[in-house]
């Protein structure tokens, strides 16, 4: 299965930040379509394009900040308490994100509210801290987090756009279809999230298989 690919767990070799660390998160090791990580927010918040984008950006910010801090402190944190330390660091940045979003817009906070705190348990962030940031330099960790964060946001947006389009007949709240369009309510419901995710995974895997053959 694609999810078992180990290539995303970068070796400690090489210390200069390389663009490859950035690129891999976008496509080859996309956190959603290839690694299938962080499924809870992917399925829950991707019912509109706007929510998906905001959730993706919030997650990317937390990922970036926690990767920076974890890689900075990687020689200071003893192995036995590393997971507890990572959770503490991640939770801190999630709380900060929560306050910042409240300060930016009450409406945005209203629509994301319940899911902001759930970023703490997003396994994508913990897996990048454990598998990458704890073994690599700050520079490489930043590249990794930026790539993974953008890849995650992109994937969430792919799902959100499709689900909003068919479930609500809109994109970013703007009507696309004529008035007599009958919405597919199932697309907004959790089941629609699974269907859409399956669809995108199919597209990705077919594309990968074609590339491998060529």
């Amino acid at each position: 299965m694609a999810a078992n690919k180990e290539s995303s767990i970068g070796p400690a070799a090489g210390t200069t930040p390389s663009t490859d660390e950035f690129i891999k998160g976008l496509w080859r090791d996309n956190p959603v379509f290839v690694q299938v990580l962080g499924m809870c927010p992917v399925l829950a918040v991707s019912n509109t394009a706007e929510n998906a984008l905001a959730m993706g950006l919030a997650t990317a910010f937390v990922l970036l900040m926690s990767n920076i801090l974890v890689s900075t402190l990687r020689n200071f944190i003893p192995k036995q308490v590393r997971i507890a330390s990572y959770i503490l660091i991640i939770a801190t940045f999630v709380t900060i994100t929560d306050y910042v979003i409240q300060a930016i817009s009450v409406d945005l906070h209203k629509s994301l509210g319940a899911f902001i705190s759930l970023i703490v348990v997003n396994c994508l962030i913990l897996s990048r801290a454990e598998a990458f940031a704890s073994k690599n330099t700050v520079g490489r960790s930043i590249m990794d987090a930026a790539g993974m964060g953008i890849g995650f946001t992109f994937a969430l947006f792919c799902l959100g756009a499709v689900r909003e389009l068919f479930g609500n007949g809109t994109i970013f709240g703007l009507g696309v279809f004529p008035d007599n369009f009958q919405e597919w309510i199932v697309m907004i419901l959790p089941a629609g999230g699974f269907f859409t995710l399956a669809l995108w995974l199919l597209i990705f895997n077919v594309a990968e298989a074609r590339k491998a053959k060529a």
Partner: protein, 238 residues
Amino acid sequence: MSTTAPIQPVAQTSSAKMLQAMVGIGIMCALLIVLTFEGTLPRIERNKAEALEKAIFKVVPGITSKQTFALSSDNQFSLVPDDSDANQLVYAGYDADDKLVGLAIEASGMGFADVIRILYGYDVEGEKIIGFYVLESKETPGLGDKIEKDPSFLANFEALDVSLTDDKRTVENKIVPVKHGNKENPWEVDGITGATISSRAIGNILGESTGSWAPKLAMNQKVFATKQPQKSERDGSE
């Protein structure tokens, strides 16, 4: 199936070092959170006050200014500054001629996911609810949050009956939620299919809230009837 790598023995680390690391990170994180909290607090409070102000003008349609009143323990209302932190506040909305249009009242109760905070507009003279707005909810996006958007649900609150009995002490018919499509009486809240629990919660919150507020407001109707002059410059200037 992939084989699991043998667990590598971890080099012994002294407890003191572990404690040092955890406490160190803890203190650093606490500091970061406190700094962000302090830094964003004024903006968050301003945003919340603005949102409440906007909501008041939304639930009591057609008003140009408002005044805040607080309920004291002996069931008397008195004018208080807008930023008062008293518990039981009502917001009186006035039109351009300083005549009372309606009162905005905050209420809250348990929804599906968490406590829902709402604001509703109440017409004291007509004894009915004239507006409704969700201030804070964590209801499921796409389902429970229809209580904020669904047009046929919001139509419930254009004129929801809260008639009082003749002695003005109790509400004649408590507001109750009903299943979608079963609304027969003007005091019933027509629910939403697919958001049953959230829409029922709204009906129950309104029932509880109007049950305790409406008689008190009716008794003190004179207090709000016209805008009180002494603070008129302050209000509506923001």
